[in-house]
Amino acid sequence: MSVISDITVPARAPYSATLKAGQTMRIIDLESQQAVDALFYNAHDVTERYSAQDTLAAQAAAGGKFYLETGAVLLSNEARPMMTITADTCGFHDTCAGACSCESNTVRFGHETRFMHSCRENFLNELGKYGMGKRDLVSNVNFFMNVPIRPNGELTVDDGVSEPGGYVDLRAEMDVLVLISNCPQVNNPCNGFRPTPIRIVISA
């Protein structure tokens, strides 16, 4: 394996990169309990993109769970494999709760949180670099984010379970544009109420 890129993404910042099929992206939660929101697009036709419902439908039909762990295959809206989780020290990555936004923050945490930075601000800035906009801001994965759905239907954001230096490896199954928001949220426990840097290593 040779390292193509090794970058530290500051707390609260966005990041993007294009992976060729077969390359692996390792996302490292340097200090623990840091949610990393991610979107995936077919690099050659961005209208094919990650679909949480296609992914979970296939996984659930095979007896799997409502969250992502090692072995999970992230499917596109054409049900084609985009990424496979090939290694994971955390065991729980959310794909149900979506990315935080200024607007949803007002509903969930009160109007006083309206002017706080959020993942969808990061994503919109990054999407713009690729000629995309809010229409393209679809379902995402929240790596290292602990979102239980309990048997009574309750959905909460609980304290993260990732350890310092914890990581997840994603192998690209097609050429994939990856957009990341190093989550700035402090109104729920997804970042331990203290957003921290992450490190992203791409290898071939």
Binding site: F109, M116, H117, D136, G153, E154
Partner: protein
């Protein structure tokens, strides 16, 4: 020179570094406690308001779909006379189609995946697109959603029907996000496995009030986990004028704020 900004002083604005991590945690736990107290003692459901004069009535044959407009204040009663296993639904703000149903926000903002009478369906902009003003309780799922060619092969499926309905509004597959599968009951167990709880009872219904002007895609196709992959009967709907639902507008603090955002959009 100091400039006074009217309005912004009405709430004590927060920023990332204004409070300590411990203070942010305390705020979150208080919100979670309130949501849990509400889930443990939900508001009493008043008798459904009498439906207004029917403006439109249609029946969707098995495997087909409709693309229709709803005005703010109109409601649709969707009925499932034969208990077909699911009906896929997606919708957009007709005045700005970049605003659309957001499944993640709908469950996260209401702290629950149980979408039934009193709950609302949020857009990506913190506003309420639809209110669930009546519901027979068959269950509606926005986690797994509609079936696709992965389940149906060459047969008609929810994903393609929603895309076809979107196309009738000039939209494309870019514009169809995670949907809600009506009349679809799923649950998760303590280990995190997802279970499909079987077809709904015959006669199941749900009444959805448009809180904004909407473009609606409604497909008579099953849930993705239904072992029966082709619809087994019609999905019927009628459109009528509906009064605002106080139950939905006040069901939770989150709903109150969602309607504050929605009302401000039309003010």
């Amino acid at each position: 020179m100091e400039i006074a900004w009217a309005g912004l002083t009405e709430v004590a604005l927060l920023d990332l570094d204004k409070l300590t991590p411990e203070e942010y945690r305390a705020r979150y736990l208080a919100l979670q406690d309130a949501a849990r107290a509400r889930a443990a003692a939900p508001p009493e459901i008043p008798p459904a308001a009498e439906a207004g004069e029917v403006l439109k009535r249609e029946s969707i044959p098995p495997g087909w779909y409709v693309a229709l407009r709803l005005k703010r204040g109109e409601a649709m009663r969707i009925t499932n006379p034969g208990g077909t296993p699911g009906a896929a639904l997606f919708f957009w703000n007709a005045d700005d189609v970049s605003e659309r149903f957001n499944a993640g926000d709908t469950t996260k903002l209401q702290w629950t995946t149980n979408l039934t009478t009193g709950r609302v369906l949020f857009s990506d902009m913190g506003r309420v697109l639809m209110s669930i003003i009546a519901d027979s309780g068959a269950g509606h799922d926005s986690i797994i959603g509609a079936n696709t060619p992965a389940q149906t092969g060459a047969g008609r499926n929810g994903r393609d029907n929603l895309r076809l309905a979107a196309a009738k509004f000039g939209l494309t597959r870019r514009d169809v996000g995670p949907c809600i599968s009506l009349f679809s009951s799923i649950s998760t167990d303590a280990e995190g496995a997802v279970h499909y709880n079987g077809a709904p009872p015959a006669g199941a219904f749900v009444d959805l009030r448009a809180e904004m002007n909407l473009l609606v895609a409604l497909s008579n196709t099953p849930h993705a986990l239904s072992p029966v992959t082709a619809a087994t009967g019609p999905i019927d709907f009628s459109v009528y004028a509906a009064a605002p639902s106080e139950l939905c507008r006040t069901y939770s603090e989150e709903a109150v704020r969602g309607f504050e955002n929605t009302d401000a959009y039309f003010a």
